[in-house]
Symmetry: C2
Subunit: 223 residues, 2 copies
């Protein structure tokens, strides 16, 4: 899979320069430790025209995280103001911090025919779906709970207490997988990436996404 | 894409040996000359566990076609008998010959958790959908009508009159693309195959197909 299989927003415009299809919102959720972050990064490399949706959060930056790239890092007061103003398509509290997706981010991507990847927890994803937000919802699962525990302990970025919290949360979150459109099992990383890439590519072949091509096909045929 | 991404019907059985998901019916249609036959063959090689559905037809075998492999070649009387007995999930007249899919073929594949590929014209596909047959419907389009004409002339297997009939039929068939689930544009063969393979793989990641995995996940977690 490489660049040749990607379509830019520009290519999706028809000959009159009109956008023929809205961008697709790809929603990825997973319990902590299932490999969502690594898979998201690899997927964004596979599809250079798929862009990450940047969320707002009240948590402090970790490691090399950059404001405006990884998240928009805001204070509690600013987050409160945005929430009160109805600026969020969804927001949720995860591990004691607030995370939210601005409506403006989704609206702009949709208008530009830009596919975006939204990496959010299942509460946030559920709110998007309840609010009737159109999107492709994918849940990433570890091969087993034992394997999830092993991975969380091995990565050594959280305290043992935090690992326990994450495992308890995983147990609560995983039943949500049943309402997602797709389930990707991250047993083998390359295989999981291949499945995610197949979902993105297949969704681009949906008839509704190719309405512009069908339209041009008939216009050309009438010449 | 290779063998590692395929799942056998056996693997889809849960630990009690019960089938956890029905096989998927993949329906491929295309106007004559769009490359459906070559793409179907390549797709079957990509997914060794995807099997072709063998149709019944009243037309005479062509070239190296084998009875029971490419088609079940039957006489008009036998076809009439099967149609009268309600043995067909769909049947249609294409270029003056009758083609039909036996209900028994679809029922058996479904029961065995076997994914099958059904290569039929859009009349037959439409009847399957009208009859509420569950399936993934994919329409293959040439990049343009001019290119379709060029390909039909180049392959030199039909008389010029037959080529004209096929082009007129294509013009009538192509609007049906709008009700299919997916559209694959066969401009570049490898790219079209990649899209078809992505559709098959993505469909295997559908939550409903992975219900058995989810079930086992929770059983294991309770031990």
């Amino acid at each position: 899979m490489g660049e040749k299989e990607t379509e830019t927003a520009e290519e999706r415009k028809d000959s009159d320069g009109e956008e023929t299809a809205e961008g697709t919102l790809l929603v990825l959720s997973a319990p902590s430790g299932a490999g969502k972050t690594s898979l998201s990064r690899a997927l964004l490399k596979t599809f250079p025209d798929l862009r990450p949706s940047v969320s707002f959060t009240t948590r402090a930056p970790r490691g090399k995280e950059v404001d405006g790239v990884d998240y928009f890092f805001v204070g509690d007061a600013e987050f409160d103001r945005m929430a009160a103003a109805g600026d969020f398509a969804e927001w949720a509290v995860v591990h004691g911090n607030r995370y939210g997706t601005a409506k403006a981010t989704l609206d702009e991507a949709r208008r530009q025919g830009q596919d975006i990847l939204l990496d959010i927890d299942c509460q946030g994803a559920h709110r998007l779906r309840q609010n009737g937000e159109e999107g492709v919802f994918v849940f990433i699962l570890p091969p087993s709970l034992d394997e999830l525990t092993r991975r969380l302990r091995a990565r050594n970025t959280e305290s043992p207490e935090d690992v326990d919290i994450r495992i308890r949360n995983a147990w609560k979150e995983i039943p949500a997988a049943s309402w997602y459109d797709y389930i990707v099992i991250n047993d083998d990383f390359d295989r999981a990436l291949e499945e995610l890439a197949a979902i993105v590519l297949a969704e681009r072949c949906r008839t509704v996404r190719r309405a512009g091509f069908l339209h041009r096909f008939f216009l050309d045929g009438k010449r």
